[in-house]
Amino acid sequence: MNNLISTIYSIMIRSSTPLLLVALGGMFTFHAGVLNVAMEGLLLISAFFAVVFSYVTGSALAGVVGGIVAAVILSLLYSFFVTTLNANNFAIGFALNIFASSLTLFLMRIMFKGQNAFNSPKIAPVGKLAVTTGIPFLDNYVFNFSILTYVAIVLFFMSSFLIYRTSFGLRLRIAGEKPQALESAGIRSNVIQFKASILCGICCGLAGAQLSLHNVRMFARDMSGGRGFIALAIILISNGRPMPMLAICLLFGLFDALSVELQGANLPPQFPLMVPYIMSVLVLFVFYAREKRGQSKRKNSISRV
């Protein structure tokens, strides 16, 4: 029993790490007034280039940096279209998602002759924070997770601070809520949005590296598996507030863990695999239904007065 709990816990942490990173990235653009639909593509392209750089150089750090660079470039491209050219963010986002999907598949075929996946022992994985204290609780529940998990936790506190406690964060939120106010103060809101999208690229880059260099050590076709959109759902539900976002990321990590555990059970594998997708719809439904009820209650109370 104890064993099962610690297994589920460790899968939960492992799989909520990329979700948290992507959601943090999306949080920046969300507050800056752009719903980033291209995160799925950012995640996928960084997962691919993390594997490429890690494979070529033999260094996990180079892999992570390569993933970040790729994601930042794609994120800037998205920002250029959405912010500078004022194109529809959904249309460009989807075009870039499909671009990431076909580009990674295409490059995989050319570079590695792989069909739908590429793995090699030469890919240097992102390691764990290996600490043995001899105290089971600390060893199983605090230490020995991916280094990127700890990076994500640090980034979580840093970004909460950045958004709510600094002048950059204030400008970021004003860029989202009242861009005219910024313009009249002589600050260009699209510069702020560009900065937000660079931050988003960095976070998604880390997330991609966690996926392809830690959670599994390979690149597989479309391996981002909708996580960019699950993260989008998390941002929508939490309305971009960090603490609820963290909680919901952990919740989705738990769903992932349940999905993995159920795959061991005597069930057709398709049903456990559905769990994260069904749950994201259900959680959205529960949250929006509650909010709607709250709204109508408020309306009623006003009309009664």
Binding site: F99, L232, L236, V281, L284
Partner: protein, 345 residues
């Protein structure tokens, strides 16, 4: 505006377009070159593989069938400002429904059989699109997230069904048995799978072209999409119209699945769609929700896709190059459109 300046405007537009097409060809050539191919030869292979010879030409036309309908499945809700990203899942369930009818029912009349199977496909797509549409109009839940999740759920559901309950007995592949003979639409041109489905799908696109331009529903949908507030003031029930648009989109996507089963594969199998849903989305983005443009863009994309198969045969370039070329085209067109719009202002 006098006719002189209008003619001048058109000349300018045509000039710009020619310039733009030239630019795209150069960029495509650059992509092919970077991939290690000879661009001129590659274009020749693509052109020959897609259009030269009756079997190639009609295979290309046949490829347009799912593309056109899945683009239309994005376009109809798109008129009303709703994004239907769920075409892939609606397609799969439509295909499954048609295959199930084709395996288990026979009315004794080929015409009725085909009609019933296609009807089932439409209903399946419609039902699958309905919940995302309902959540959108009732609770304002972002439809991009829900329809995308719906794709993953549908893919897994179909995978389960063709792996377990509906799997052909004794087969080692994840596929159903063949549909019965009366359901199988004949291939009209030797060497290709071109069949009646091409005319059905083109007809559907034209019907929706008329619906958009000539009917009250079409007018109201495009009005909601272009100015939600004004249409609210004008007394259009936005939620109901958006729901209708979503359901129509789902039905069209489901129909595409039915047509592919009845005209091409004659059975349901895992991996029946090589990402038609997303190709359809790209087509629709490029065609800017316009049915006539959807037909033209589908043709262009079908040429690229079936041409790159030929390219793969004669060079080291994998067939996935077509996806890269398509998205590059879309990004350039998006930038180009915005430039033109800014100039007109």
């Amino acid at each position: 505006m006098s006719s002189m300046t209008r003619a001048g405007g058109y000349a300018k537009k045509i000039g710009l377009t020619v310039l733009f097409v030239g630019l795209i060809v150069v960029v495509w050539a650059a992509v092919l070159f970077l991939a290690g191919a000879n661009p001129v030869l590659s274009f020749v292979y693509i052109f020959k593989g897609a259009l030269v010879g009756t079997s190639n030409l009609f295979s290309t036309l046949d490829l347009m069938v799912p593309m056109m309908l899945l683009a239309l499945a994005v376009a109809i809700p798109g008129w009303a400002g709703v994004w239907n990203i769920g075409g892939e899942g609606q397609f799969l369930l439509g295909a499954l429904a048609a295959a199930w009818v084709g395996i288990s029912i026979d009315l004794g009349n080929p015409f009725l059989d085909v009609f019933l199977a296609l009807f089932a496909a439409m209903v399946a797509g419609l039902v699958w699109s309905s919940w995302a549409g309902y959540l959108k109009v009732k609770l304002q839940i972002n439809e991009i997230v829900t329809t995308l999740m719906a794709n993953y759920i549908a893919t897994l559901l179909v995978s389960y069904l063709v792996n377990y309950p509906l799997k052909e007995a004794g087969s080692s592949w994840a596929q159903t048995a063949y549909i019965k003979r009366p359901f199988q639409l004949h291939h009209l041109v030797g060497g290709s799978q071109f069949s009646l489905t091409f005319f059905i799908s083109t007809g559907i696109v034209l019907v929706f072209f008329l619906l958009e331009k000539r009917t009250r529903l079409g007018y109201e949908l495009t009005m909601i999409g272009s100015n939600e507030r004004l249409s609210y003031l004008g007394g259009i029930s936005i939620a109901a119209k958006r729901m209708v648009a979503m359901l129509l989109g789902g039905a069209v996507a489901g129909l595409a699945g039915g047509l592919v089963v009845l005209g091409n594969t004659y059975r349901m199998k895992e991996g029946i769609s090589p990402g038609y849903g997303f190709t359809g989305l790209l087509v629709c983005l490029l065609a800017d929700n316009d049915p006539i443009l959807i037909i033209l863009v589908s043709f262009l994309f079908a040429v690229l896709q079936s041409g790159s198969l030929n390219l793969q045969l004669f060079s080291d370039i994998p067939v996935e190059i077509s996806g890269v070329l398509q998205v590059v085209l879309i990004l350039f067109v998006a930038a180009f459109r915005i430039m033109i719009r800014k100039k007109e202002r």
